[in-house]
Amino acid sequence: MKGKFTRRQLLRHGIALGALTSMGRLSLPSVAYANSGPTIDRNFIFCHMAGGWDTFLGLDPKDPDIFTDERKYETRIELGFHMLPSNRRSLIQSNVPDIVFGPYIGKLKDYADKMAIIRGMSVDSLGHKAGAARFITGKPPSGNNARGSSMATILADRYETQADADMHRLISNLCIRTSSYNTDRIPKATGTKLWSLDDLFDFVEGVDAPFDSTVSSQIDQFLQDNVDPSRSEFLDKALAFKVKAKEMTGLNLREKFDMDGSTAEILAARDAFELGYNERNTVGFNDPNYRLATAARAIVSGVSRCVSVEVIGTLDSHFDWSRDQGREQQKGFDAMANLIAYLDSIPHSNGGSYLDHTTILCFSEMGRKPMLINDGRNHNRNTSCFLAGAGIAGGTIIGASSDIGAGCQKVDLTTGTLSATGDIVRPEHIHRALLHGIGVTDDVADLRVSPLTAILS
């Protein structure tokens, strides 16, 4: 027994150690990151195609001549292309020689040179909410509940806590019909949720006063004179934010977002996203193009730093897969192509286009099983995603799904090639890489993995 501690001794030592640490002598160093502030001014758009996509039809296809219906019990892969319309049974060549897509990639095939496509990754989840929480936060959820802040929230927090006011945005974290989590970041990084464009107008436009501007000014002056800001930090902030709120409502931001407007900027956006006139009240946010146009306008107008969008929410095809899955995917991919083209067409004041200053991540919360069940596919933890834009190595394929069962495979995080000693790519590897790409090399999001630097240019 000599040399071993008894339970009583362990308890006693534990208490002594606790007492010492509480005095601050042996306490763990407080979390202080040497490299936690972004050094690159960059915007982010997180695009969620909800429901769980079938990667065979889009981002991660398999050759129908090899993975035939006859071999499905050998390969455990059932493409089901024979159930698709006859003009949708072939793979699509992209604008990069080595990159081929599934039959429903749509207009996105012309932008492969700007995309890093991750194949054979895992979300470790078979549930919609849990998968989305995992992808949005990069942390394993607790049941369906996210355990941690969204990556968009963390990025917004990193920028908003910088002393340089040029890094700040009015609505730093904008969320269009999607979830956003803030468990440990500054209040300003909390996602502002929109269900319609009117919600956005509610935030940036004021209700008309029941009197003229002279009276408004008299009230403002009275409040400024009769509240002593030196009495507390709260009152100081209250007066400062009162002035800012007035400035914000005077900016006429509706003009920047109202797709029924007639400014040159809006006409260009309507053209790029193929929107008709007067669709706000008819199509509105039900259209993926409308949602992405709003996201793009939020970035281009300088209102937001991070925008999260649910591009479409109709991919959960347990039934009628052959009719719905590809059609809905293509709606989303076409809108994504419009987003890339639009951002690429708008010059940025620091040179290049807005696409050169905006990183796009497009994902679904999970994939779908490689074997069909009648005309449907169940959920699968294996999935794909893609990134495009600023800091992303375009024309790149990271990893691959396996040829048996289309499962996840380990990848060398620095090269993106398959490696038996590598890691299965998960959302947290991508999130770390996004932070890495703006100069935040410390693990400020507590993701506890290495970054997938292979996606970075």
Binding site: L20, V207, V215, F222, L223, R231, F234, A238, F241
Partner: protein
């Protein structure tokens, strides 16, 4: 071994004395990061027994539910947009947002102003139609009356009702609000609009929405 441990603990205790004393001055300071609201002490009271050390916390604003309820009680209307925007206005749902924010930040100020504009407009329009007993705002004055005494009496009533401060009609605080009333009355020549403006100013004042 025991002696060494005792010496070590003794050194730790001595070294940390000053810091401990500092902490004792403010026993609740560790609970909050915000500075304590400054006390205004009368010089003549300093050093006498009449000074009782009082620990004060900094202000916090109402949350959106409290604010909405307060508006309903005072103006007869709630302002549901506050509830629609409750996430960005700092209300946790403990699923996506777990921290409650009670700071008077940008969007809170913006929605507060909107609520004040909207509800005060409704309120004063309704006051015109209501009998004295039914009125919530013009309890001590007729809508078109601008006599100083009545205006001040009503302002004193409103400061108690909206800000919880009891003032005599001739108090300086009431005088300040009367000056605002007079200035607006002069520029609009319309007492109903003037009372709407007073209502808006009362709601936008930090003494209404913070405590």
């Amino acid at each position: 071994m025991r002696v060494l441990l005792m010496m070590t603990l003794g050194m730790i205790a001595c070294d940390g004395g000053e810091a401990n004393l500092e902490e004792k001055k403010s026993p609740t300071a560790y609970l909050m990061n915000d500075p304590i609201e400054k006390l205004e002490l009368e010089d003549e009271n300093l050093g006498t027994e009449s000074i009782v050390p009082v620990q004060r916390r900094d202000r916090r604003r109402m949350n959106v539910f409290q604010l909405n309820k307060a508006l309903l009680d005072l103006t007869g209307h709630d302002y549901v947009q506050l509830l629609d925007a409750r996430g960005p206005l700092g209300q946790p749902d403990y699923r996506e947002i777990t921290r409650e924010v009670r700071e008077p930040e940008l969007f809170f100020q913006k929605f507060l102003q909107d609520a004040a504009h909207s509800n005060c407009d409704f309120l004063l329009d309704a006051e015109l139609e209501a009998t004295l007993e039914e009125r919530r705002f013009l309890k001590h004055i007729e809508p078109n009356d601008t006599a100083e005494a009545e205006v001040k009496e009503n302002l004193a009533f409103l400061l108690l009702r909206y800000h919880g401060h009891r003032h005599e009609n001739d108090a300086q605080e009431v005088e300040n609000w009367y000056t605002l009333f007079s200035n607006i009355q002069q520029s609009t020549a319309d007492s109903q609009t003037t009372w709407k403006a007073i209502c808006v100013a009362l709601i936008r004042h930090p003494d209404f929405y913070s405590y």
